[in-house]
Amino acid sequence: METPTLEALQHWLKWAITHPEGAKTAVAAAQFEPKPSCASSVVNAPPLDRFERIDIYGKAFFLRLRDYLLSVFPKSKQLFDRVLQSDAFDMLMAEYIVGVPSTTPNIDTFGLAFPAFCRDNASTKLPNEHSWLFDILELERCVLFAHLSACGESLIKTKLPLLDAETLGSARFTTDPTLNLIGSSANLADLWRSPMEEALPSGGTTFYCGVWRDLSGEVRVQTLSIAAYTCLTALLSGCAVAQISISTQTTQTQIAQWFREWVENGIIRDILLAH
């Protein structure tokens, strides 16, 4: 037996460990097997043969990533199962683990691309009325993103008392970097809270919600009115308050009320004064 190089050994083992059907089946099929084969480098040591020993790593690999995805997308799993009455979600997880290998040292970030993968790979298989399921995946991705992102402290509270109304009207604002806004045919915030109890969407209405980390550090998922959603979208794009009022046809009083709320709950973090 020729001694394999470390490089050949690692590439072969990676292939054997990540084969969905296990090492023995993989080697028997020999499809895409890296050469040289390193099977004989692994010791057959009863009571387990070499393939059973490799499969201990294989099972742990799939289980670890599956458990991780379930920990990040628990509500999506429940809703896919509830709506589709099939193992579609499990299949998507399995396909993702094999099809989009992790390249990051931090397993916590592995799930960030999962919603896009699902949309790309399953959208044609889902009836159109269930397409909101991808939105709940997106909401859970936003929750993950909010947990993983660094947030600066809120600077606006100390600046606000120093500003007059005119200055405020022309100012632009920095929002919390974790803020994401989502529109969907489902009431995502309610479904996210009670995936098994809330009524499923019946179509015709668009719901909006925001996801962000508040000043206590907790991640908030909150339903928004269409007007609040529009204002926040304008704020995010860098509009000044006065412009927002005109473009969204919202009264200054209403905007002022939201503004106070968004400063208090951490959505608005800082103010950029016009010079």
């Binding site: 037996m1 394999p4 480098s41 010791v43 040591a45 990533l65 992790s102 993103f145």
Partner: protein, 299 residues
């Protein structure tokens, strides 16, 4: 509990792994435990600047010594070392004032992919030659010694030229790195590969061990798996006593990652370790304890 240092500084006594389930317990109260170990990657966030977990850690850090334990250094991989990741670790170590950082003697991926698993290496001269410059590089970037952990393993390679403990000892001698001796991993590998775990302990130079790990394994009938989801089993406590007699009262960490108990359950395990450290790790008590264990009584 917490018979040893319990304020920021160098860890001593028995610590526990800080997991997200316990963040609130530690952030809102001050549970009595000597020190904490974090899984480094859990605090890096999206880009190494940390997220919510790091914010909580920085509050908790005020009250406990902390050490960093990584799982993605992939020291044995033939891929280039990930310098961005190393710099993120260095920053994390700086902001948390962690006392030391550790990772595993293994590879976790190749070809740019991370399998997030601790995969074994062949114990060959080639592997040594591959590892030594990489350890030197890590130590150069981090500006201090790496603490390297032995992993549990489920397979061995036909072309290995030395034992795992000979391999580890050679690495410490050539690079100056230190060891995190995982007593549970020694036991699990010993059962899985039919060697005497005491031979492993006796093959490790005494001055090289910076930290111990203890954990619970799962017995799958044909083999043991290092699952970190049980209390420490009696044979591992027994081997830990042997390790204390050989290496002294080295800071010891209870690792528990799955099916986590309430915090009190975890702290009880740490308390057990501290009792054993006092009984077996004290140089003056070691002789008496050893004699007592084999049935002799000093006059």
């Amino acid at each position: 509990m917490a018979r040893f240092a319990s304020k920021p500084g160098q860890p001593s006594g028995a610590g526990v792994g800080l997991r997200s389930k316990y963040h609130r317990d530690f952030a809102t109260g001050k549970p009595k435990v000597s020190w904490l170990e974090i899984v480094s990657e859990n605090y890096l966030g999206l880009d190494g600047r940390g997220g919510r977990a790091l914010e909580l850690l920085l509050q908790i850090r005020e009250h406990y010594p902390v050490v960093m334990h990584g799982v993605s250094l992939s020291l044995g991989s033939v891929d280039p070392l990930n310098l961005d990741y190393l710099l993120q670790l260095k920053r994390l170590k700086s902001v948390t004032s962690a006392s030391w950082y550790s990772d595993h003697l293994c590879w976790t991926g190749v070809g740019g992919e991370n399998l997030h698993d601790l995969l074994p290496l062949p114990y060959t001269m080639d592997a040594l030659q591959h590892l030594c410059p990489r350890i030197h590089k890590v130590q150069e970037v981090m500006g201090e010694r790496l603490v390297l952990e032995n992993v549990s393993s489920y397979l061995t390679f036909a072309h290995s030229e030395m034992t795992e403990w000979e391999f580890l000892s050679t690495l410490t001698r050539r690079t100056g790195c230190e060891l995190l001796l995982d007593v549970n991993n020694v036991y699990v590998s010993a059962i899985n590969h039919s060697f005497d775990p005491r031979e492993f302990l006796n093959g490790i130079p005494q001055h090289t061990v910076r930290q111990f790990h203890l954990a619970g394994y799962s017995d799958n009938g044909t083999h043991l798996v290092d699952t970190h989801d049980h209390p420490v089993w009696p044979p591992v406590w027994s081997l830990y006593r042997e390790a204390l007699l050989r290496f002294g009262p080295i800071p010891t960490l209870i690792e528990w990652d799955d099916r986590l108990p309430p915090l009190d359950g975890l702290l009880e395990e740490a308390a057990k370790a501290e009792i054993l450290m006092e009984a077996y790790g004290n140089p003056n008590a070691r002789g008496a304890s050893a004699l007592a264990e084999v049935g002799h009584h000093p006059s």
